[in-house]
C-alpha cells in the first residue's frame, strides 16, 4: 500500500541550443525505469534548473548540451546547488562533450558524462548506484 521512495530526476537543457531529442528520449527512458522525471524543457538558466531541483527535492539533475556551453553551464549548476545546500544531488551530463573536457567537468563536481552511443541501461545503472538519498 505505502508508496515507495522513487528517484526524482530533473532533466534540463541549459543554454540556447534547441536539440532536445536526446534529453526527451532520456526523460522517457528514466520514467520507464520507474523514476519520476521532471522535464523542464529548453533554454534553462542554471538558476532555473537549481530552483527546480530545490522545489522538487530532486535526487538527480541531468544536463544535456550539444552546443559547446557545457564548460560554463555544468559547473555553474553544481556550484549553485552547493550554495543552496543541495550537495547531495547527483549531477550527470550528456550530449556532445569533447573527451578532453570530461576530466575538468568531473573535477567540478559532475558525477558522470554520457556521450553519444552510451547504452541507456548503463546510465540508469549509474544513477541507481550513485543516488545518495536514503
Amino acid at each position: 500500500m505505502t508508496a515507495k521512495k522513487r528517484v526524482k530526476v530533473i532533466m534540463a537543457k541549459p543554454g540556447l541550443d534547441g536539440h532536445d531529442r536526446g534529453a526527451k528520449l532520456l526523460a522517457r527512458v528514466f520514467a520507464e525505469a520507474g523514476m519520476e522525471v521532471v522535464y523542464t524543457g529548453l533554454r534553462q538558466t542554471p538558476e532555473m534548473i537549481v530552483d527546480a531541483a530545490l522545489q522538487e527535492d530532486a535526487d538527480v539533475v541531468g544536463l544535456s548540451s550539444l552546443s559547446g556551453v557545457h564548460n560554463y553551464f555544468f559547473p555553474r549548476v553544481v556550484e549553485l546547488l552547493k550554495e543552496k545546500g543541495l550537495d547531495d544531488v547527483l549531477v550527470v551530463g550528456g550530449g556532445i562533450i569533447p573527451e578532453e573536457d570530461v576530466a575538468g567537468l568531473k573535477k567540478a563536481g559532475v558525477a558522470a558524462i554520457f556521450g553519444p552511443g552510451t547504452r541507456t541501461d548503463d546510465i540508469i545503472k549509474f544513477i541507481e548506484d550513485n543516488v545518495s538519498r536514503s
Binding site: R6, E32, V38
Partner: protein, 317 residues
C-alpha cells in the same frame, strides 16, 4: 522531523520540499507531521484547475500565477501528472509551461505523480496543499492530471474549481454529461482562436442555464474565453475567480464548504485507520488463510464470515 516542520513554518523552502517528499512517500511519520502542520493551515485560498489533456491547464496556471504575483500575493503550485501503471515511473511536464513563474522566489512549484491514485490527484495532494498553506502561501493552485469525465477529486480539495475546455473535442451531448462538468465554479474555453470556440461557449452556457432550471443554486458558473498562450482573456478569468471567491466569503459558503471538506477528510482518515487496525488483527494470526480454505471448500460463505470477524473485533453492536 519536528525540526523540518519548524523550518517550514519559518519559511525554509528546502525544508518544505523535503517535508513534501516524506508525505508523498507516505512515510510512517506522516500523521505526526500533518498533525503539526494542521494548526497553521486555513489561510491559503485553494484554486483547482482541471480539464482534459492538452486544454491548456498548465499555461493558464502560469498566467494566473503571474497575475497574482502582480498583486504581490504569494503562490504555491501543485501540478499533478500520471504515473505509469506499468513501471510506476512518471514524466512530469507541467513545469515547462510555467517558465515565467519559476525563478520567482515567492512562487513554489511542485510536480507530483499520481502513484496509482485515480480521481485526478495523488493520494497525498491534499496534504501537500496544507503544507504550502502552513508555509504561508496566499494561494495554492492545484492542477490536476488531464481528466476525462469522472475524475472529480479536485472539488474536494479546492475552494474554487476551474474546468478548462478547448474546442474540437465533442458535440453538445458531451457538455450535458455528468462528472467533471458538474464540479465547475468557472468554465474556461481556452484556445478560443480555434474553430468551434464560440459554439463551445454557447453549449456550456446552455448547460449552465439548464443547471439553473434543474436546481436552484446561489452561484451560477461563469464562462470565460481565453487564449492562454497570447495572454488574452486571462484578466477576465482572474476577475471571475475573484468574483467567486468574494461570493463564497460573503455568502458564508466558504466556511460551509470547508467544513464539509474537513468532514470528508476526517472520515477518510478514520476509514484508513480502522481498516489498518482491523486488517492487522485479522491477517496477523494466520487464521484468515484457514478461513479462505473453508470458503473455497464451501463449508462457509464469505458474507457470514466477514460479519463474524467484524463482530469478533468490535463485539456486539
Amino acid at each position: 522531523m519536528d525540526d523540518l516542520v519548524a523550518q517550514v513554518l519559518q519559511g525554509s523552502v528546502r525544508a518544505m520540499a523535503r517535508l513534501i517528499t516524506l508525505i508523498e512517500n507516505e512515510d510512517p511519520r506522516s500523521l505526526q507531521i500533518m498533525a503539526a502542520i494542521y494548526p497553521h493551515t486555513g489561510n491559503a485560498y485553494v484554486l483547482g484547475i482541471t480539464g482534459s489533456p492538452g486544454t491548456g491547464k498548465s499555461t493558464l496556471t502560469d498566467k494566473i500565477t503571474t497575475l497574482l504575483r502582480e498583486r504581490e500575493e504569494t503562490v504555491g503550485v501543485v501540478a499533478v501528472d500520471p504515473s505509469s501503471p506499468f513501471t510506476g515511473g512518471a514524466l512530469l511536464g507541467d513545469r515547462i509551461r510555467m517558465q515565467r513563474s519559476s525563478g520567482d522566489a515567492e512562487v513554489f512549484i511542485r510536480s507530483m505523480a499520481t502513484r496509482g491514485n485515480l480521481g485526478g490527484l495523488a493520494r497525498t495532494t491534499a496534504d501537500v496543499v496544507k503544507i504550502m498553506d502552513a508555509f504561508g502561501k496566499d494561494w495554492v493552485i492545484v492542477e490536476t492530471v488531464g481528466v476525462g469525465q469522472d475524475e472529480v477529486e479536485i472539488a474536494k480539495t479546492a475552494d474554487s474549481t476551474v474546468v478548462v475546455l478547448a474546442p474540437g473535442l465533442g458535440d453538445s451531448i458531451q457538455s450535458m454529461k455528468a462528472g467533471v462538468m458538474e464540479i465547475a465554479d468557472l468554465f474556461v474555453v481556452n484556445k478560443a482562436d480555434r474553430a468551434g470556440a464560440d459554439e463551445l461557449v454557447n453549449e456550456v452556457n446552455v448547460r449552465v442555464k439548464q443547471d439553473a432550471q434543474i436546481r436552484k443554486a446561489a452561484w451560477e458558473p461563469l464562462v470565460v474565453k481565453t487564449i492562454a498562450l497570447e495572454n488574452a482573456g486571462t484578466n477576465l478569468l482572474m476577475e471571475a475567480i475573484d468574483k467567486h471567491r468574494v461570493f463564497l466569503r460573503q455568502s458564508g459558503k466558504l466556511g460551509k464548504n470547508r467544513r464539509e471538506k474537513t468532514r470528508q477528510e476526517t472520515l477518510g482518515l478514520l476509514r484508513d485507520e480502522i481498516s489498518r487496525n482491523v486488517l492487522e488483527k485479522v491477517l496477523g494470526n494466520g487464521r484468515f488463510d484457514a478461513l479462505i480454505d473453508d470458503i473455497v471448500a464451501h463449508k462457509k460463505d464469505p458474507y457470514t464470515s466477514v460479519q463474524e470477524i467484524v463482530d469478533g473485533i468490535f463485539g456486539d453492536k
